[in-house]
């Protein structure tokens, strides 16, 4: 057991022990533990295996980038043990092992590592060609991290929007002082920190007593400051345009819109690079201190301290005080600062070896830990002087050689970084508007400077927002000491000196990559994959840059850094998806359709009845029954999804004439006319019916999918042309249903005050009146080819009218029909559906709709293009076709191809078997050569068989339109047997 007696300020709650399982063995921890701290407390060192070589790995940072210590619990993927809070009865196992963590058969790969140099996979496995799939299967077997659980449920999380004046990211000393100053200046502040408690480095590196005292003071002030909202265990994962920041906690994502952002995200401690620097027990000094101060865990018994900064000595003292033996301190510099800690260590006669390095760590059996550190003098050329090496037994090595800024969000915000030689660190140069940096990420290390830097950033943020009482920004003394070693990297002939722990990249991988020409930072990143692992280079990018600079003999700034993209820490899909809102649009008759057993189909955001099911009947038969009801008697269909617009004013007709291809100025009041719309390039995009209600008032319909865009475009053109008329979109406010069939008039007769007889109300007429007492606008249309009335009513009246019609129609066998039957009926009439019988390039001429295009009008959108197109030979033409009535066997389907002399000569756009006509009829877009009536052409159907079709006139049914124009006196006389 490595758990120590109570440590002041520890994060664990010893009154709440939590039992759990790891790799099949039972362990115990406390509430407040992370998985790693609990396992470390139980004396466990090896927590996982590395991605490529399956080397044992343990604690590295305890700061959310220990990606070699990922665990899974059967529910969640790739849990980061170093930061995941321990829960009672977790059943955890290490990821990506073959046969368990200890016995992992994958460890063989480590022995083979010399055969797997950087980019090895580019250089093999492809000869012979046929062998690659075999190798690939093998590779896919060993690659990847956690194993997904395919039965895990969809997790829906809330997503929140939030707003504040100043968002402070990072609640260390500088962040806290920034938040306090901003709040004092009257700003509403959100203060976020990914840790469970605020305080930042002061929670694990108390340093001098007065610091920790000022910490407790600061915490107190934050607690009582009403303007500050503290969000702990919350990570700012991404910065987006206009100060839009994604805050992610365990339960949800919060999207914050701030007026100013202060990034006080601190730094990541960086590893030194020496042989076996990845062994369990070799860790960052800050990691050891986190174990110690937050979780009261003794990280090791005997630790060699490798350092190049004052932080290392403080850490050494920390460990000594916790009862850890420190055989020596290995100082990479010629001399360290004269700090209190150094004096104290001298007092306790801890030897300090200056200008020295750890040359390698000697592994315990099976690489499961450290047995000793081999220490050598560091030569001027940065290499180890192996002649005079000494060996120190230890079970741990602490690395305190430098830091890299946690500047991911600053990068994302568009900040430019410059390299500060004094502190050997990238710091923000030019910052984007409204974004500020403070603390160590900004290059301030001295505690006083960190606090002052926070106040400085706050003052600038307040000024940025123009908040009154914004006091002058204090000036911050530039840092004089250097916390980071310029090259904490030691070569070793036998390698295994790791730079990137995610990707198992060794020092030599970088020189090899450079040797092959990947010697600029971007190419090196892509070839070696440094920084591409789950930790996104948090512990490897800086060393990679130093190594490349070393190789090319360039100063670091000239090598430059790679930009960091979101996310700063990975974000679960569940948190990004949230609840997953999917807007649905329903006509007011939806419930009626449900009651009638409708099978719905999606039409954009709408749900429309495809057909109405009846106990055990087949869809195909039901569609025919519905169609036959319309042909023989009467049917009722909900067409409420059509776009419904009104245009009113002196220029209303002018606007319609400019937007549609047809003519509307001469349309008589009380009459309707088909309307076709093309885009500026002359391509058919929409159609509908225009009705004239009065001289200056029109009501018109668009396709279901076109309604929004047609309204929008007409608004835009109307604004550009400045016509004296206004548009109203009634699509949602009006419901519409089409009562169609020879008996439709009989159904209405008893219900309405509208004079229905042909003379008073001709085909294509429109009448306002009442049906069942409801104000109704009735259009006499013939889309399905029978006597029919399209009834438009206020949405809230629709269900009432529907019921009234169904009731009145009962005696005539009225029947609701769906989209499928309507498609069949309109096909029998040869009416096209835009988007089905036309495509993204079809012109009106190709659609054989010249009749609807008035080229002699002064202007309409697309007309000028059609003038050009008209001069060209037609590329394709829409024709009606029929199959031999005797045809049996498989039939053509929509989009089967027309094949002529072995070449594609067109395609079927719509086809169906017409029970009315007792044959298969359809429409096809084909080459003009084949478009003459009675021409025979071949359609290739499924399985490649050719079927002959013949071009015929449309409409296929009731060519003269007698049925829709004038009702048939008595349907009995002209029954079309079903």
């Amino acid at each position: 057991m490595s758990r120590l007696a109570q440590i002041p300020g520890e994060w664990i709650d010893r009154s709440r022990p939590l039992p759990f399982e790891f790799e099949g063995r039972r362990y115990g921890g406390f509430a407040g533990d992370t998985i790693t701290s609990a396992l470390s407390a139980s004396g466990l060192r090896m927590l996982g295996r590395s991605f490529k070589y399956h080397r044992p790995r343990g604690v590295l940072s305890l700061a959310n980038h220990d990606v070699n210590a990922l665990v899974q619990d059967g529910k969640s993927l790739n849990l980061r043990a170093d930061v995941t809070p321990l829960e009672a009865n977790m059943r955890l196992s290490a990821i990506n092992t073959f046969g368990g963590l200890a016995a992992d058969r994958g460890r063989l790969l480590d022995r083979m590592s010399r055969f797997l140099p950087v980019g090895f996979y580019y250089k093999t496995f492809y000869r012979p060609k046929f062998a690659f799939p075999h190798w690939e299967r093998l590779i896919r077997k060993v690659s990847g991290l956690g194993t997904p659980n395919f039965s895990a449920p969809r997790v829906r999380t809330p997503k929140r929007y939030d707003f504040c004046d100043v968002l402070v990211i990072g609640a260390g000393p500088s962040g806290i002082s920034a938040a306090l100053a901003a709040a004092k200046g009257g700003a509403s502040v959100i203060l976020v920190d990914e840790n469970a408690r605020i305080g930042g480095s002061l929670t694990y590196a108390p340093g001098a007593a007065d610091d920790s005292e000022s910490l407790s003071k600061m915490l107190m002030r934050v607690a009582v400051e009403p303007n500050i909202s503290v969000r702990t265990s919350t990570c700012a994962c991404g910065y987006y345009a206009d100060h839009w920041v994604a805050l992610v906690d365990a339960a949800k994502m919060t999207k914050v819109r701030a007026r100013a952002v202060i990034v006080a995200s601190g730094v990541f401690e960086q590893p030194a690079v020496f042989r076996n620097n990845d062994l369990p027990g070799v860790m960052l000094a800050s990691a050891a201190q986190r174990l110690l101060h937050r979780y009261a865990v003794k990280p090791m018994q005997r630790a060699v301290i490798l350092t190049a900064n004052a932080e290392g000595y403080a850490a050494a003292l920390d460990l000594l005080n916790a009862g850890v033996e420190v055989p020596c301190i290995v100082e990479m510099r010629a001399a360290g600062e004269q700090t209190a800690a150094l004096q104290e260590l001298r007092k306790r006669s801890v030897p300090v070896y200056a200008s020295s390095c750890v040359y390698e760590a000697l592994p315990a059996h099976g690489l499961t830990g450290v047995d000793a550190a081999v220490v050598c003098p560091l030569r001027r050329d940065g290499r180890a002087d192996t002649v005079s090496k000494q060996q120190f037994d230890c079970d741990g090595i602490l690395m305190s050689v430098g830091f890299a800024p946690a500047n991911g969000l600053l990068h994302q915000a568009g900040a430019h970084m410059r390299f500060d030689e004094t502190i050997q660190q990238f710091v923000p140069g030019a910052l984007p508007y409204g974004v500020f940096a403070a603390g160590r990420v900004n290059g301030s290390y001295d505690m006083g400077a960190r606090l002052a830097d926070g106040e400085r950033a706050a003052a600038l943020a307040l000024r940025h927002m123009g908040l009154e009482g914004a006091q002058a920004a204090p000036t911050v003394a530039p840092e004089t000491r250097c916390p980071s070693h310029p090259y904490p990297i030691v070569e070793h002939p036998d390698g295994k000196n790791f730079v990137d722990f995610d990707e198992d990249l060794q020092l030599r991988d970088f020189s090899n990559a450079a040797q092959e020409g990947f010697d600029n930072i971007e190419l090196m990143k892509r070839y070696t994959t440094v920084g591409m692992g789950p930790s996104q280079g948090k512990h490897s990018n800086m060393n990679a840059i130093r190594i490349l600079a070393h190789i090319r003999q360039l100063p670091v700034p000239e090598v430059g850094s790679t930009t960091a993209r979101p996310f700063f820490h990975p974000v679960p899909l569940s948190h990004l998806a949230g609840r997953g809102f999917t807007p649905e649009r329903r006509t007011p008759l939806h419930a009626r359709h449900q009651q009638a057993g409708a099978k719905f189909m999606e039409a954009g955001v709408w749900l429309r009845p495809e057909y109405y099911s009846q106990d055990d009947k087949l869809k195909a038969d039901l569609v025919i029954d519905e169609a036959m009801a319309v042909r023989n008697s009467v049917g009722l269909i909900d067409v409420g999804t059509l776009g419904k617009l009104a245009v009113i004013g002196p220029d209303a007709a002018e606007l319609l004439e400019r937007m549609y291809t047809g003519r509307f100025k001469n349309l008589k009041v009380g009459m309707t006319r088909y309307a076709l719309m093309v885009d500026e390039s002359g391509v058919v995009i929409d159609d509908g019916v225009v009705a004239r209600l009065s001289e200056e008032s029109f009501y018109f319909t668009t396709t279901t999918t076109g309604s929004a865009s047609v309204y929008r475009e007409m608004q835009r053109w109307n604004a550009i042309w400045g016509l004296n008329c206004g548009l109203v979109n009634l699509t949602g406010a009006m419901a519409a249903m089409n009562v169609a069939g020879p008996r439709s008039r009989d159904v209405l007769a008893g219900l309405t005050d509208i004079a229905l007889e042909n003379a008073a109300y001709p085909y294509l007429g429109i009448r306002d009146g009442h049906i069942a007492g409801i104000p109704v606008r009735a259009m006499r249309v013939g889309f399905v080819g029978e006597l029919g009335y399209e009834l438009h009513v206020a949405a809230d009246n629709a269900a009432y009218l529907w019921d009234a019609l169904m009731q009145a129609g009962a005696d005539f066998g009225i029947r609701p029909f769906g989209v499928e039957a309507q498609r069949l009926l309109r096909l029998e009439k040869g009416h096209i559906i835009i988007g089905q019988d036309t495509d993204g390039l079809t012109t009106p001429f190709q659609a054989a709709m010249d009749w609807a295009v008035k080229m002699d009008k002064p202007f309409f959108v697309g007309q000028r293009s059609l003038h050009t197109i008209q001069k060209q030979p037609l590329k394709q033409k829409l024709v009606g076709f029929a199959l031999d009535p005797g045809h049996t066997g498989p039939a053509p389907k929509d989009c089967h191809l027309v094949i002529h002399n072995g070449a594609i000569a067109g395609r079927v756009t719509s086809v169906a078997h017409s029970a009315t006509l007792k044959k298969i009829v359809g429409l096809a877009l084909i080459t003009p050569e084949l478009s003459a009536i009675d021409t025979r052409f071949d359609v290739r159907i499924d399985a490649g068989a050719m079927i002959e079709a013949r071009v015929v006139e449309t409409p296929f049914y009731d060519a003269t339109g007698a049925r829709q124009k004038e009702a048939v006196a008595s349907p009995q006389r002209e029954v079309i047997p079903a």
């Binding site: 993927l77 790739n78 083979m112 055969f115 797997l116 140099p117 996979y121 580019y122 250089k123 093999t124 492809y126 000869r127 060609k129 690659f132 690939e136 896919r140 077997k141 690659s143 990847g144 991290l145 194993t147 997904p148 395919f150 895990a152 969809r154 997790v155 987006y240 999207k255 994302q412 020189s511 090899n512 040797q515 092959e516 990947f518 600029n520 971007e522 190419l523 070839y527 789950p534 996104q536 993209r565 979101p566 996310f567 990975p570 899909l573 569940s574 990004l576 998806a577 997953g580 390039s681 002359g682 993204g840 060209q872 389907k893 989009c895 089967h896 191809l897 594609i904 290739r940 490649g944």
Partner: protein
């Protein structure tokens, strides 16, 4: 253990040579200058040198090799297009892809995984049948399959897609593949380099000299060169380059974003695309799920990321794969897509003599890399549009003779 690895492992020191030289400075004159060291530019250089004997070539790159869309796409390769022109073109590309690793002596991890374009509506189903029929007619292996086949190929998928968009069928394209995108640029770059082509990185083109309608040279950030043939293959930067010769085209620039999860044990074998849900996803050999969606809605000449992109894509992913709720997105990025109105490229000769265009690659440029090299090298070498690109010439717009690939190209990467 492959022999090659044994050799590398047993040698004391690492003997791998440079893949591409770093020429000190520009020569005064080149037979051909290629703007853009992405896949397309380098492939063109490679085939010019290999097949047309033209080796005095400078490839000029503002940034670094393959640093543009070549290294930013989701690496999907397919030929299941809609128009005969498109299908024939991409089919030739797939044919070339399959031998590239051997050509290059570099493993591209070209992996034939099968490509399913899901249909959630009957109109989508109709388009899939159309594409399948055109593909089959031209000998491309595509067919319309039912939900059951999708279930077999991807048993982990929720075919109801959260109840919102049940899968009604799919266009199955057996040759659908993925590849290691960077390696494509490196392979072409190395191949061209070894044949004498000069690749100049960090070299920006600042001006294009034209005299009497004929290209005569380039002004670059590293000096001027004279040349009578310039190939422009710069995707998102096309409008800037065209402006230098005073040309306007229908091309507009929109960001196309993508994102990738942390690695997980490979489970997703095929490439899955859903037009209605705006998702395309495949799993790399590293175990990462590589995902994309549709274009950003408005013009933008930058590669910034947006949060709403990840939100929308995540929610659609979970409708198909609810069990991935805890899978974490590691990284998102964007490329600049040079879009055309008909979703087909703009290739070949231009009104400016000696100025050749390889552009309009929108969201479908990676898969065309080899065939672009083949056809553009032919076009440049012979000053004659290659037969395979006749449907893609710039003048098709003025002639209202567009090549309607929208049905196949939009979203369906």
């Amino acid at each position: 253990m492959p022999l090659r690895l044994l050799q590398m492992g047993l040698r004391r020191e690492y003997r791998e040579p440079r893949m591409f030289r770093q020429p000190e400075k520009l020569k005064p004159t080149y037979d051909v200058a290629i703007i853009g060291a992405g896949g397309h530019g380098l492939a063109s250089a490679y085939y010019l040198a290999r097949d047309h004997g033209i080796t005095n070539i400078a490839v000029l790159e503002k940034g670094y090799i393959g640093g543009g869309n070549t290294g930013r796409n989701t690496t999907i390769i397919r030929s299941n297009y809609l128009t005969p022109e498109g299908v024939a073109f991409y089919d030739e590309s797939v044919r070339l892809w399959q031998d590239l690793s051997q050509d290059f002596d570099l493993n591209l991890f070209y992996s034939t995984r099968g490509h399913y374009t899901l249909a959630h509506t009957d109109s989508a189903l109709r388009t899939m049948r159309w594409r399948a029929e055109v593909n089959k007619h031209l000998g491309v292996d595509s067919e319309l399959v039912g939900p059951d086949a999708v279930k077999r190929a991807c048993p982990q998928m929720d075919l109801t897609c959260g109840g919102h968009a049940p899968v009604m069928g799919a266009l199955f394209h057996r040759p659908g593949a993925i590849a290691r995108h960077d390696a494509v640029a490196w392979g072409y770059g190395r191949g061209a380099d070894r044949r004498g082509v000069e690749i100049h990185q960090k070299t920006e083109v600042l001006g294009i000299e034209v005299e009497g309608g004929q290209v005569t040279g380039l002004r670059t950030s590293r000096g001027n060169i004279s040349t009578r043939k310039v190939l422009c293959a710069v995707a998102g930067s096309t409008p800037r380059m065209l402006d230098l010769v005073g040309m306007r085209t229908p091309i507009t620039i929109h960001p196309l974003q993508a994102m990738v999860t942390e690695p997980m044990k490979p489970w997703l074998d095929p490439i899955i695309v859903s037009g209605s849900l705006h998702v395309y996803v495949s799993q790399s050999a590293r175990g990462e799920l590589v995902m994309g969606a549709s274009l950003d809605p408005y013009e933008l000449h930058s590669t910034r990321s947006t949060l709403d992109f990840t939100e929308g894509l995540a929610s659609h992913m979970l409708e198909m794969f609810p069990f991935l709720s805890s899978a974490k997105i590691n990284r998102q990025w964007a490329g600049m897509a040079d879009m055309t109105p008909d979703f087909a490229p703009i290739m070949g000769k231009t009104p400016v003599q000696g100025f050749y265009l390889d552009a309009g690659w929108g969201t479908w440029g990676f898969k065309a890399t080899p065939v672009c090299g083949k056809t553009m090298s032919h076009t440049v070498a012979n000053d004659d549009d290659h037969p395979l690109i006749k449907g893609f010439t710039l003048d098709r717009f003025a002639n209202y003779a567009l090549t309607g690939e929208k049905g196949a190209a939009s979203v369906g990467h």
